[in-house]
Subunit: 201 residues, 4 copies
């Protein structure tokens, strides 16, 4: 089983990414269940604005798209800015939008029978809405979102430490991340055995 994880931090490598730190726990939990994960730190790539799979002109989304097509699981991992998914996460959703009109040889949208999950970090409140926006976007495109297929680490009230600044709450976020990994893997297996069909006319 394969997974693709998109780290949507605003910070280019080699800066430390809080989102990467929490996402690593989810990747490890998936690995312990036999899932190999390809991780893209999107800010390091040239992901062009647009809603086509290949925007040309050096656009590096096509190889991300290729990885997603070859995966059973897609995880969007994002920081929280002003209570929203990062601009990089929204860019990823915009590029995923093109998959709406891509179908397999059975006329199914290519995201059918793939599952999606969300990892959120932030130095202030906001995770619930980030999860809402991303889950709705993934379901729009055709991904199935298993129950409790997310984890987050956000505190409040007001601005505070980042994930890497403290140990507070890590246990909860990591435990929740392990449940997320289990649910993604189980539902991906279920859909592999009992796949969704092409939409009726």
């Amino acid at each position: 089983m394969r997974a693709t994880l998109l780290n949507c931090t605003l910070k280019p490598s080699p800066e430390e990414s809080n989102t990467a730190s929490l996402a690593a726990h989810v990747v490890a939990a998936m690995k312990s269940r036999g899932v190999e994960t390809e991780v893209f730190r999107l800010v390091d790539l040239d992901i062009r604005p647009g809603v086509e799979t290949d925007m040309g002109d050096g656009d590096e989304w096509p190889r991300v798209h290729e990885s997603i097509l070859g995966s059973d699981i897609l995880v969007l991992a994002t920081p929280t800015w002003l209570g929203h998914p990062s601009s990089i996460a929204q860019r990823a959703l915009e590029r995923l939008d093109a998959m709406l009109s891509e179908t397999d040889d059975q006329s199914r949208p290519v995201a059918y029978n793939k599952v999606g999950g969300v990892v959120v970090t932030g130095n202030e409140d906001g995770a619930h809405h980030v999860i809402a926006d991303i889950v709705q976007g993934l379901v729009d495109v055709g991904f199935t979102v298993p129950g409790q297929a997310w984890t987050y680490w956000n505190m409040g009230p007001g601005p505070g430490p980042t994930y890497s600044d403290t140990e507070q709450g890590h246990d909860w976020s990591q435990m929740t991340g392990r449940a997320m990994a289990a649910n993604l893997v189980t539902v991906a297996q279920a859909l592999s055995a009992y796949p969704m069909q092409a939409p009726p006319d």
Copy 2:
């Protein structure tokens, strides 16, 4: 296979409910796949404010809760007010919240292995956000949301006709509703055969 559909219109019976009209297409599509659906028009019941399964004092949520426990599929159907799910839909989510701490004999949250979907109507723009809020709420509680397990009928820009005032867009909303029904049924079957397990520690 059983489904529960919660019609979250603000209008008590016997007023005509636009939400009921679109939801009826989803119910019919599920029926054609062998699913029996119990429909509750929540505004006709006394659903008390609170976040427990039984708020006492004549509270009628317990029999809705009982129906959901006995179903494989839960559909929330709601109008759009100010771009949000109706207060009745939010009330339903608040009451569903209690299911977070209810587990079955295998220590699984009771919503695990149930699937959820959304039907939205409105006399103005807003469906996407309504879907986002409800899908996130359902996933929070443990429901799995299949790809494209929603339909809507909202127009814009500005205030306009209601669903029952016109035929415009009905074809799209009903076709999308048939796809929704198919996806709910298939994923419910998949989870029945390959069920999610209790969260790891």
Copy 3:
């Protein structure tokens, strides 16, 4: 200067309301600037579902509506459930929606030249989205929302203590509440001196 504050807790009196506790600081800060506030705990009233100012049948919204018409400032104070405003807060927005079509003797929507603010509490993450939904709803209806006219007390990650369970973060939430009160009062005064006009055709 007058204000109306709607406490949208799910808990009927005399239960302790966390939202009331934080809101009291905003009320006190407004009072210190000469503003008298009328507080409604909406769950204690019979606020009927609907989108008219008077839904008849014992509906108690009309006197809330009367208070808002007589006020310069409206504050919605709400707990967070599943990351959303409470069903009581959404009910209030639905009832406020009727003000869209009510105009004064200069053909201005009655909410013009009134200002709105938001107070949020919760035992988990979610305030930013609650603020977004309420601020958008108020602006829809015609209220002006001053910069930083909100405060909140929500923590994370995961479920945690309520506002009244701890002192943590109170300083920040109360300080932010004092700024909110100042901004509401100043902008209400500004609009009183330089009022918005009826919309052009």
Copy 4:
């Protein structure tokens, strides 16, 4: 009086931008009230990811920031993708976030006494949530949002024509845009005469 309008289309010049077309009506309505507007089509600039005012390395945000500092009015104009503000709009909000810690010589956040508005277009439903996210972001940073300081052109249900494909609904969107312009100008004048003060301690 000066305004800055950020067009957050995903399409680089010289492609036709639906968002630009609707925004032009708001710009014209502001001009008729004596407001000069500087328009930035952000996708044509190199706006680096990050949350500082100057991210270095050829970053072109600083001159946008300079324009905003010199303006009384800020309008974000954005298309709708998956029901959300575009990635370019979210990028703008992230860069505006730095203004939270910038103060004037009276210790006021620099966005105080500036007003903000929103223009939305889209080939499907979604405007209400786009407005919610942007209004909340602007208020967070310190902008005041006047009542009804937005317009939109989104249709539904399902994908449909773009703004430039049809005349349908243009009248409503343009009329609403004229009201938006009037309200932005009036409230900006009010705040100029009766300015908000530095937050109390």
